[in-house]
Structure formats: structure tokens, C-alpha cells
């Protein structure tokens, strides 16, 4: 972080000096602007290497965490460099698109970083029964089986009806709050009411069924949080590739023409 801040300050100082000496300010084709552009492009290429590093997990190319730190902080450093390169002007169509894509990549990256700081804590605190994400359908199937067995074992018509009309549909659903049992408070109230309607001997089964519903709610929450943890990558990664391609095109066109 300190290195990034130091480099950003140094770049800002260089930009200030270059602006003073150039009558029209720094532009992309000025010497200073070109230097900023080359540095920014270099950083973007480094940013892109994280994906390659992740694909070669067994290779000893430094710890992935070090790469990630570099990805974050050098990515942040690229922001002032790009702005200094452009002289705070959007320029023509391609450079405008480049700036938009760069903004999207930066913002989606920062958004993802923020999510990754918050959501793991939320998931740890609120999803005690967390399982491997890909296993959720199997675990839910097991929960459905257990609920059906427990409800059938009692032979109680009230429990059978509740299982058929509320619990099974809830377990089959996405476990969200749209369902009555998707809300912990309403679920608790429903099971409390049921306790008054069924014999004492079946209260343990009711507790089991309530626990099964709680696990389903937690798995639903896990699935939602998991999606949020990774969904930003659907923007960040493809836009990053597009940005790199356009940067390459921009560099070639600039050098040729």
C-alpha cells in the first residue's frame, strides 16, 4: 500500500512538472504521456497475468496471495497513470471506450474486493451448517429424505399435512424468504403452533423438522452469499480481456499512425 501511494505521488509530481513545461498540457502522444501510457499498459498486462498464475497452481511462481496483493495495489496504481496518460481527456471513440472499460474493470474489481472483505465474515457468522457449494443440491436431497422419513414415522395426520403442504414445497424451493418457512421468525411461530396441535410424543420430530428447515434456510443463504462472492467476476474478467485487447490495438494504432 505504501509503495503504491509513494509511486502514485511520484507519478503525480512528474505529471505536474510535465504539465507545467508543456503549453497544452500532457497528452497521450507527448513524451510524458507516452511514458505514463506505457507504464499503465505494463501494469495492465501484469494484472492479466494473475489469471495465468491461477491456472498454474502447482508451479512455484510465488505465493498466490502475493500475486493477489500485487494485482490489487498495482491495479489501483494504474488508475492515476491512465488518467495522467490521457491528460484527463477522453479523446476519440476508441480511447473513450478504453476509459469506460478501464473504469468498469476498476470499479468491478473494487466492488469484488469489498464483497470479499465483508461476505466471508457474514457467511461464517450466519451459516454454521455451511457445506461445499457444489454439494448443496445433494445435501438438500438428503434433507428432503430425512424430513419425509421423520414425518411418515409419526403417523400423525397433522404432521403429514404440514410436511406435504409446507415443508416439502419449501425444501424443493430455493429456500428463499418468499416461502413461509424461509423466514426464521415465521418458521419458529409455525412450529410453536404445531406443538400445541400434536401429541407430546411427536415434539421431538417437530424439533427435527424445524432443524431441517433451519438447515435449508442456511444453505439458501449460503448459496446467495456464494453467488454474490463470485458474480462480480462475470463482469470483471471478460471486461478485463476486452480491455487488454483494446489496449493492444490502441498501442499498435498509436505506434503505426
Amino acid at each position: 500500500m505504501l509503495a503504491t501511494a509513494g509511486l502514485a505521488v511520484a507519478a503525480a509530481a512528474a505529471y505536474g512538472l510535465a504539465s507545467r513545461s508543456a503549453p497544452g498540457g500532457v497528452t497521450g502522444d507527448s513524451a510524458a504521456g507516452l511514458a505514463f501510457g506505457i507504464a499503465a499498459a505494463g501494469l495492465m498486462m501484469f494484472e492479466g497475468l494473475l489469471a495465468a498464475r491461477k491456472r498454474k497452481r502447482a508451479w512455484r511462481l510465488g505465493r498466490a496471495a502475493t500475486w493477489m496483493r500485487g494485482h490489487i495495489w498495482l491495479g489501483v496504481l494504474a488508475v492515476p497513470l491512465v488518467l495522467f496518460h490521457s491528460g484527463f481527456h477522453s479523446g476519440g471513440a476508441i480511447t473513450t471506450i478504453l476509459l469506460v472499460l478501464f473504469g468498469l474493470v476498476t470499479l468491478s474489481g473494487l466492488f469484488g474486493l469489498a464483497l470479499q472483505q465483508v461476505l466471508p465474515r457474514v457467511m461464517t457468522a450466519r451459516v454454521e451448517m455451511e457445506t461445499v457449494f457444489e454439494q448443496i443440491p445433494q445435501v438438500v436431497a438428503q434433507l428432503r429424505k430425512e424430513a419425509a422419513e421423520r414425518a411418515a414415522k409419526t403417523g400423525d395426520p397433522v404432521i403429514a399435512k404440514v410436511h406435504r403442504e409446507a415443508i416439502e414445497p419449501f425444501l424443493l424451493s430455493d429456500g428463499g424468504r418468499a416461502q413461509r418457512l424461509g423466514d426464521a421468525g415465521r418458521s419458529e411461530a409455525m412450529f410453536a403452533e404445531l406443538k400445541r396441535l400434536v401429541p407430546l410424543a411427536h415434539h421431538e420430530t417437530l424439533a427435527d423438522l424445524a432443524h431441517i428447515c433451519e438447515e435449508r434456510r442456511q444453505l439458501a443463504l449460503q448459496a446467495r452469499l456464494h453467488r454474490w462472492l463470485h458474480i462480480w467476476l462475470l463482469v470483471h474478467v471478460p471486461v478485463s480481456y476486452a480491455l487488454l485487447l483494446l489496449v493492444a490495438a490502441h498501442a499498435v494504432m498509436t505506434l503505426l499512425y
Binding site: A58, A65, E128
Partner: protein, 517 residues
């Protein structure tokens, strides 16, 4: 196909055939015939004076019986502990850390306490050296439970030793002649020292020891076997000679582990001094051997030696208080959770900081990438505080996975990692024995099976299914985490982009979180 068990051979010394064995003490009769099945599992080794038989800290899998001569048993490591003498930074602290002897920095309760080792003698901190003579057996715990060697053994004179693998030792331990000799030797040579080494029993007179000599018995227990059960009448007092004992008590909502006791510890006094019923269940964690003192002898001892009775009552009272406190904490005590999760057994745990982990599974993929596409790590398991103890080998101090492997293919190398040798027969016993589900059975293709399973080119299509069904193309093999020992760091740790994965020593890592024991 050759019998895989016949493959296990000790590569040093002179292998003994059944005839030669039958001439040795304890091997006469059916034992010699049984051992014919294991050629090379017991060898005769000759050591010259000064030659090292085994070194402390080494991992091994054999026991030794002295046939001729004597050996010196000692601990070569400096007798002391590191004390950090303050300082502001880590570097300063490291520079100022130094080794202090127990005289220089005495610790409560350590003075004069014997050091239990894997031999029929104890060493002391003042003089960690002893001599074993012909007829003595040492290395039993290493042989039976794959513990590291507890001491260095050097030939005190030219000597002849029998070195044996676990299957031989187990046959020997079942031999009535050997058991009788073991008990006789114990009573004659080791019992006095053993009983007096137990702080609770310090002060026993020679006359009483003579009386006990013919009364005590050595009793062996297999891993998991109960030695005494909670609620049963208390009929004996026990001293542990070999192995680890788990002491647990039932509480509403489950069982709580109260303690793990090892060689030199004693148990059973609470029931005998109290209301006559066992207050906890004590069971063998591994291969355990205890010295059993019957209730009447125990009562005679406490009647004759009021000091000992007072010490025993004080100990029983403090254990009761501790158990009560433990019971009150049972629902929330993290130490119990720590023990119940078996974390104290582990030497190296893969933990994931769940507040940092983004569930990206890079660790799992890295493991698979490093191990031919088959992961040895599952990002699931027990939680302790904010940490997930991932389903990955813990390198247990007491590797229960090794108990019972019929071909001895699972073993610990000269370091922490556990390896499964190529001759694993895929019986799955180690996977079942692992209490933490960290060994998996994985189907591996049999050499040449693909060709054998494929239908001949000219065969009609209808013949293909029958052909495939008849030929088995894979064979299960046990796989477990090898800590990526060939690399500097485990791949799962290196590949984590969020610094959430660590390999840790649980005692140190969780020390602050579990609080005082």
C-alpha cells in the same frame, strides 16, 4: 499372486527361520510355526560396543529384544527449556532467548520426575541414562503405535539383539511364556522403580513393595478397548506402563473427554477412595499396557501409608473439582471442543480462516493439480472458532490409521508426513481407522487393464458389455495428504490468494483460543 505380507522384510541383520527361532526363548511351540508366514519380519542383529541401535526422535516400526549383552539407553537432547527474556521486537526476542537448565530456572513439579521412555526403565532429568540387559524388550510403543523413538540406545558391550516388526511382537505378546517372563522381569527389575516414580506413591516401603510384587499384574488393552467403565464397581488401581489412556465422562448432551493419560500416570483412585463406583470411563487410545493393583491391595496400601492416602485423596478431590468445572463448561468450553475434535492429536492441521476465505476452492484445485488430478483435500470439516479444519491429513501424534494395516504399507517417513507405499492392497482399513475421514480410497487404473477390457476389434458389439464387466480395470488405493513434502510448502497454502489457508501446529496456533487447560 504372491502374498503381499511376505514382502515385508527387515533389510538389516540375519533373517531367522522357524528352526532358529524355535531355539530362542519365547518362540518355542506354535509361535515359531506362525512366524514361518513372515520371513524377514524378525532378524538377529549384532552390535559392537559403542554402536548406535536407534536414535531418539527417529521414526521406526520395530522393537528390540536383547539376547546377549547390554545396552545403554539415554536422552542426548539438552535437558532444558527455552525461555524468552522479553524484548521489544521479534529479532530481539530471538537473540535473547536461551536454553536454561532446570536448576537454573526450576519449574514447579518437575524436580526429580522420571522421564517415561519406551523401555522397561525410566530416566531422570538429572541422569538421563540407564542400562538394559539380556531379556529386556524395548521399542514396543514405536513398534506397536509408530511413535518416534523416545531415547538413543547404544551397545554398552558387544551384544546380540532381535529386531522385530509389529506382527512378530504381537505374536510374542500373546505367548504365555513371554507374558510370564515379562511379568517376572517387571516385578524383579522395574516394578519398584515404576511404583516409586509415580509421585502419588512416593514413600512406599521396601516391605510393602515386596508384598505387592506377587500381587500386581500386567494387563494389555487393544486400541479403543475400555479399561474401566463409568458406574461400574471400582475394583482396581492402575498405573500406565505403555500407551495412552482416554478418560471420558458422560454428560447430558454427550461425552466429555476429561484427560489423556500416558506412561507414568495413574488412575482409578477416585472410585476406590469414593463411593466405590467408577466416575469416568477409561479406554485405551492405542496399544496400552497397565499395571493393575487390586482393590484390596490398594486399600491395604492406603491404610498402611497415611501420607500416600492423603496425597491420593487430595488428587482425587482436585480431579473431582476439575471434572465439575469441566461439566459446567461442557456446553461452551472450547477446550473440550478442541479435544473432542481430536485437534490435540494433530501435529499439523490445514486450517482455513473462514473470515478471509472466499470459497474460491483454489486450495482444492491446487491439491488436485499437484497430485495427478486427485485432490487430497476437501474444503469441509469441523469448525473451531472462525477456522475450518479442512478434511486433510493432520499428521496425528497417534496415527490410528496405521493400526492394523495388513501389509504395513502405511507408515510415517522420517518426518511428519504419512505415506502409503505402493504395495497398498486397497483394503480401506486405514481410511476406516482415520477418525477424521482424511484418508480416501481412490480407484486407480490397473496396468494393462484398458487393453484387457477393450473388446477385440472383430468381436460383435453385443459381446462388449460382458467383456467389460468381466475385467476389472481399476483398483482402490488409499491416498492421503503428504504435506507436499517434496516442495517447500504445501500447494494448498501457496495457491490461496487470500492468505486464508495455513498449515499450523494446533497446540501453538489455538493456544490463545482454548485458554488454560
Amino acid at each position: 499372486m504372491p502374498d503381499p505380507i511376505a514382502e515385508i522384510r527387515l533389510d538389516r541383520g540375519e533373517p531367522l527361520n522357524a528352526e532358529e527361532l524355535s531355539r530362542l526363548p519365547f518362540f518355542q511351540g506354535p509361535q515359531a510355526r506362525t512366524l514361518e508366514k513372515y520371513p524377514g519380519a524378525v532378524v538377529r542383529r549384532r552390535f559392537r560396543k559403542g554402536e548406535v541401535v536407534c536414535r531418539e526422535g527417529e521414526y521406526g516400526s520395530t522393537a528390540f529384544l536383547i539376547l546377549e549383552g547390554s545396552v545403554t539407553v539415554s536422552i542426548g537432547a539438552p535437558m532444558g527449556h527455552v525461555r524468552t527474556a522479553g524484548g521489544a521486537g521479534g529479532l530481539v526476542r530471538r537473540i535473547r532467548s536461551r536454553l536454561l537448565g532446570h536448576k537454573e530456572d526450576p519449574r514447579a513439579g518437575v524436580g526429580g520426575r522420571p522421564i517415561p521412555i519406551d523401555a522397561p526403565v525410566n530416566l531422570t532429568t538429572d541422569k538421563p541414562v540407564a542400562t538394559l540387559s539380556a531379556g529386556s524388550l524395548f521399542g514396543e510403543m514405536t513398534c506397536l503405535s509408530f511413535y518416534p523413538r523416545s531415547a538413543t540406545v547404544v551397545a554398552a558391550e558387544d551384544c546380540v539383539l532381535l529386531e522385530m516388526l509389529r506382527n512378530v511382537l504381537q505374536i510374542l505378546r500373546k505367548s504365555p511364556a513371554f507374558r510370564e517372563q515379562l511379568e517376572t522381569d517387571y516385578r524383579a527389575r522395574a516394578m519398584d522403580e515404576h511404583l516409586r516414580s509415580v509421585p502419588l506413591l512416593a514413600g512406599l516401603s521396601d516391605a510393602f513393595l515386596d508384598r505387592l510384587r506377587s500381587k500386581v499384574s500386567l494387563v494389555s488393552y487393544e486400541p479403543g478397548q475400555a479399561i474401566c467403565r463409568e458406574g461400574e464397581p471400582a475394583d482396581a488401581f492402575y498405573l500406565i506402563r505403555i500407551g495412552f489412556v482416554r478418560v471420558a465422562r458422560s454428560f447430558p448432551g454427550g461425552e466429555v473427554v476429561l484427560a489423556y493419560l500416558s506412561r507414568g500416570d495413574a488412575f482409578g483412585e477416585m472410585g476406590l477412595l469414593g463411593e466405590g463406583a467408577r466416575e469416568a470411563t477409561c479406554s485405551a487410545l492405542d496399544h496400552v499396557e497397565v499395571v493393575r493393583i487390586a482393590a484390596e491391595e490398594f486399600r491395604a496400601m492406603t491404610a498402611e501409608f497415611p501420607d500416600i492416602r492423603a496425597r491420593l485423596e487430595e488428587t482425587a478431590s482436585s480431579r473431582r473439582r476439575a471434572n465439575l468445572a469441566r461439566a459446567q463448561q461442557a456446553s461452551g468450553a472450547r477446550l473440550d471442543e478442541f479435544l473432542e475434535q481430536g485437534l490435540m492429536q494433530a501435529q499439523s492441521l490445514l486450517v482455513l480462516d473462514l473470515e478471509r476465505c472466499t470459497r474460491c476452492d483454489e486450495c482444492v484445485r491446487a491439491c488436485a493439480d499437484t497430485h495427478d488430478g486427485v485432490t487430497r483435500l476437501i474444503r469441509d470439516g469441523l469448525r473451531f472458532d472462525k477456522y475450518l479444519v479442512a478434511t486433510s491429513c493432520r499428521q496425528c501424534r497417534d496415527p490410528l490409521c496405521m493400526v492394523g494395516c495388513p501389509v504395513g504399507s502405511i507408515r510415517r517417513k522420517d518426518s511428519l508426513e504419512i505415506i502409503i507405499e505402493d504395495w497398498c492392497i486397497g483394503c480401506g482399513l486405514c481410511a476406516r481407522n482415520c477418525p477424521y475421514g482424511n484418508i480416501n480410497m481412490h480407484p486407480v487404473p490397473l496396468p494393462g487393464a484398458a487393453e484387457a477390457a477393450a473388446p477385440p476389434a472383430a468381436a460383435p458389439p453385443a459381446a462388449a458389455p460382458a467383456s467389460k464387466a468381466a475385467v476389472k480395470t481399476t483398483r482402490d488405493k488409499a491416498i492421503t495428504c503428504d504435506l507436499c513434502a517434496h516442495l517447500e510448502e504445501p500447494s494448498c497454502v501457496v495457491a490461496c490468494p487470500h492468505e486464508a489457508a495455513f498449515r499450523v501446529q494446533p497446540g501453538e496456533f489455538f493456544a490463545e483460543r482454548i485458554g488454560p487447560a
